[in-house]
Amino acid sequence: MTAPLTGIEIETHWRRLLSVVDEAATALVQASFSSAIRDFLDFACAIFDSNGKMLVQSTQSTPGLMGILPFVVPNIMSEFPQSELSPGDVLITNDPWLASGHLVDISVVTPVFFGDRIVAYIACAAHALNVGGRLATIESKNMYEEGLKIPVCKVMDRGQPQELVFEFLKWNVWEPDKVVGDLRAQIAANEVMVNGLLRFMREGKVDDLTPLAGEICDRSERSLRSAIRNWPNGRAASGVELSLPGLSEPVRLSLDLEILDDEIVLDYTGTADQVSLAVNVTLNMTRSYSFYILKCLLDPLVPNNEGCLRAVRIIAPEGSVLNAAKPAPTWGRTMIAHILPELVNESLSKLVPGHALADSGAAPLAYCNFVGEHYDGTPFFSIISFHGGMGASASGDGLSCISFPANCANIPAEIIENEAPILVRSKTLIPDSGGVGMHRGGLGQQVQIEVLDGTLGPKGPILAGVRGGRFNLPVKGLDGGGGSITPELSVNGVAIQGGRQIELRAGDVLNFTLPGGGGFGEATEREKSLVRNDLREGVVTEEAAEEQYGGLAG
């Protein structure tokens, strides 16, 4: 029986383990081969105790994995019991239900042996460049159209790479070098965590992580619960109808949010059934984006761990679009999942005034692929993303052009033009696209991409997939604040529907007009000096200053 941990030990050990996962995140980014990890930052690294309880997660982690990661190791443990594992084994899977919600995320899990005993599990989940299947489209009717499925299996067996697993992967994907390179980087990141953890255990004379896991998770749980207690009890409903390209009926999302003492229940009963379009959300992904916004509002400073999730209960009917069952297609799930924070915000605004955030023009993430050949025949596969503006809140204006609720960086125009035979014609803020209000919404942006001609252009057409973007759902303001502009997606001035593959030829111009965020509070309440400054900067026009903000006088 060891002595209970002191506060000093908990703090220093916790800090130490965080440094281990952050080291691994750095190693992953450095060793990665595609912009999916490097620029999208679509990954997370985490350490679990021998029971599968998550202690720490890398500071740089996508919000999309926050409600998923704590369940990945317990799910995999139930598929692969400890008795079947040996030192040097590494497991992988891309099962959307066991792991992270769509096939294109690959999870890598390593058991950590201390002597002959498993003392911990390490996990690294990351977005692969692709896993084959249809390209950047939500047209798939089931998961079999979406590419390679990897059952939970050993990718390393007692330290030996399982070549057959790598071969299956290489035979099924575009740009196999990059996809396999990223998988190798994930395995390397896990090695960094295993080594760092074992060094910590040796130096700190810790031979069992469970007491530390208990302290970290219990304290985090208490912290969140006490924050919830500061909110009044109550119950409020919210909902939205999403019209999606290819579906005749809109998809209904319903939320009934209840604050009950130190707990929050999110009940999505009433939400539409799953659909034959690759936008279905698995329960773990629903949990991620529902919980993410609550953590931001309630307890943003505590590093994420299993205990952080305990005070929030999520109910979503099985077979609904928010708890889809196999073999639902899930590739473009963010087209729905990124809207969930807005439902939570809408309910909360009725219960806890002044805490919520107006809608964001960056939700859902706008993302495209460009695939084809350069004039000389070399292939290219380019990922591009860009973001509208964030909603304003009681505490201030929204940020312009910023990823939310995802957190992906853009790819510089000079890099895009270096990778693909296209020219970014413009990437500019749109005046008046920030919803008006006492606090103004962040501005959206207009992006124009032109396909080059001649020897600088492509050989044949470019296959382009456009997913997401706030094209089918208006951006609303909050507490009297205004919404944003009508977005637009067009080729050569002709509007097109997103979500599908299109062909672009030399001279074609693809235009994205991405909305800004919603405003907060009455526009006439906005400080005149701020309106004057917005006018001088050209982010608000004279017309809007006069008509919406009530002029500059006063």
Partner: protein, 744 residues
Amino acid sequence: MQLLKDGVTNGSTDDSGYKPTCHRDVTRFRNARSARTCSRKRVRREDLSKYEFTTRVGTDIGGTFTDFVYLNTATGKVTLDKQLTTPEDPSKAVISGLDKQEAASPVLQSTSDITHGTTLVINALIERKGSKTALLTTAGFEDALEIRREVRYDAYDLNLTFPSPLTPRRRRLGVSGRVHTSGEEIEPLDIEATKALIDGLIEDGVESVAVCLLHSYANDEHERVIEELVNARDSSVHVSLSSQVLPEVREYERTSTTVANAYTQPLVESYLQRLDEALKEREFLGKLYVMQSAGGVLPLESAARFPVRMVESGPAGGVIAAIAVGERLGLEDLLAFDMGGTTAKICPVVAGAAAVTHNYEVARTAHFRAGSGIPVSTPVMDLLEIGTGGGSIAHIDSLDLLKVGPESAGSVPGPAAYGGGGDRPTVTDADVVLGYLDPANFLGGEMKLDADAAVRTLERLGRRLSMSAIETAHAIREAAEEDMAAAARVHLAGLGLDPTSLPLVAYGGAGPVHAVGLASRLGTSRVIVPPAAGVSSALGLIVAPATFETSQTYKVKSERIDLREVDRLYRYMEGFAASMLPPLADGQEVKFARWVDMRYVGQGFEVSIDLPPNGGLNSISTSRLNEDFRDAYESRFGRSYDDVTVETVNLRVRATISGESQQLGLVSLTSSKSTMRESPSAIRKAYFAGYDRPLECPVYARNLLGPESDIRGPAIIQERETTTVVSPGARAGVGELGALVIDL
């Protein structure tokens, strides 16, 4: 990142006989010199050879003090001094310090060089005190500074903010004309429209213009034309071209860096001019240099052209001093550790060269959060800044755990022990309560510490966790040291370095107090405390060589590399870099180091490969380059791939003046040559982790220690600016230059 060999040369073994003779050129600025200066009696340039220069001066402007180091190169004698900094015009403190020294014993006429470290640039960027600046950029990209990289630096903070651009949207204008990534012109520059824009800017009173066009690293012609157009319109307006400030791919970072340069240029030029004139009036015949962020020094004409290269001028001096001391002790690899009142800084040094980063940010809105500042991507020493200093405040968070910083009590009100009204417990208060700092002897006794106040504030905090003042003090110290260790581990891992193999060189007021504790957490077994640890930055200034580093994007797959083209680009870059250096003295020459950043196609992480110097490119092949890359990659990551293509990204070159006069003339910095075995000046009670009761701890005065000293911990070694804590089991001695050497 790449490791930069900064070329601090080995100190001459025969220090006493070293007398450099320098010929100095007269500094010229673009603008005419004032009549007043010209009318004064001046020594004509041809007469300079009659003068013998025996003094070198380093002066570093810090937040509170401006430090001075005078080195007599004939005797090796070093004199230290401090003046209060004069924020309204920092050159005043420099001049009054020099005047004070001059009054005591004339040195200026015999001074060959004054090297200057200054916070002017970083302060101008943080406090927004730069000039009225405009940006001319490719049409369609006027908003690049506001759109940034579109990522949130903190995923959970919904209220995060970014610094607003240095130039407002109404002065960020687009010009038409496009250049392809290959350098090919797609559309010509619209000259008439550009002229009209320039007219408007100048009528608006713009003093400085940044020009940043897409792909200008591949073809700078449009930028050069714009520079000519501005000059033709009004030659008093400053122009910064992105193709000169930072010829590297990624438009946001390049635009940001170029605008920061333009924003600070008029200010820095006039400041350096004032300082130069004031020195000339005082019959100073030598040369004024400015410290760059990456370590080398620049003559003031070059510094005035590229002020963004001076953002971390002062901290770089501290690292250079650590390198110089390390070298004298035979240490090529080390970790420079500077801990002051509000922050700690660490910088790894490998093979005698500081790690250098090209991803630096200034004016962060969130303390220590990468991504929350203004990118300034010129070479900067890779100093990791951590929010842990002597003034960092301890608090209990929502998890009932004790945390330290990043909030700091600063110098006002300061730690509770300062008696300035501070009532929140800090790291310094913990150090007082543990017995490490002597309340009667802080800053050589100039400042009395209130130990009772420290105890009271710790008791108050500890009560919430049922801990005594001593237990709370231990908890604060451990949290502070683990915070620094954790940050250092992640930083070093990112550079592929193992902390256990890096001795710690500790300086700054709080550095030596926590160095042994930090070292044991990092698993390193040796700590060095340099002499004059309180003025390390100024000391580093006089040992730094003159260097200029520049780069050029050359993104080509390895099988398509054209070595003749590469050689041509290098020769062009070398010519430019050499033109930034001061004129050569007898016995000096310019040396060039060439290296190239390479990576696997698809990766974002680059590995630097050294190339042979001018003419040597004939001797290598692209396949050899590939092999060198794979070897370097493997030693960095433990694996390499034969089946993946390799590409070049940036060509880099550094010009360094080497030769006799760059020799380090340092001799002993200790004020005493004592070889006596030491005896403690006092015994006091101090608390150490793992001991229930206080230990009787001998206290030594550092200036009484000598080469024979052999001190077993627990012990405390005091000097005016800092205190070194030697914990039980550690052993301290005195090495070269009077540095303390502690073995754990």
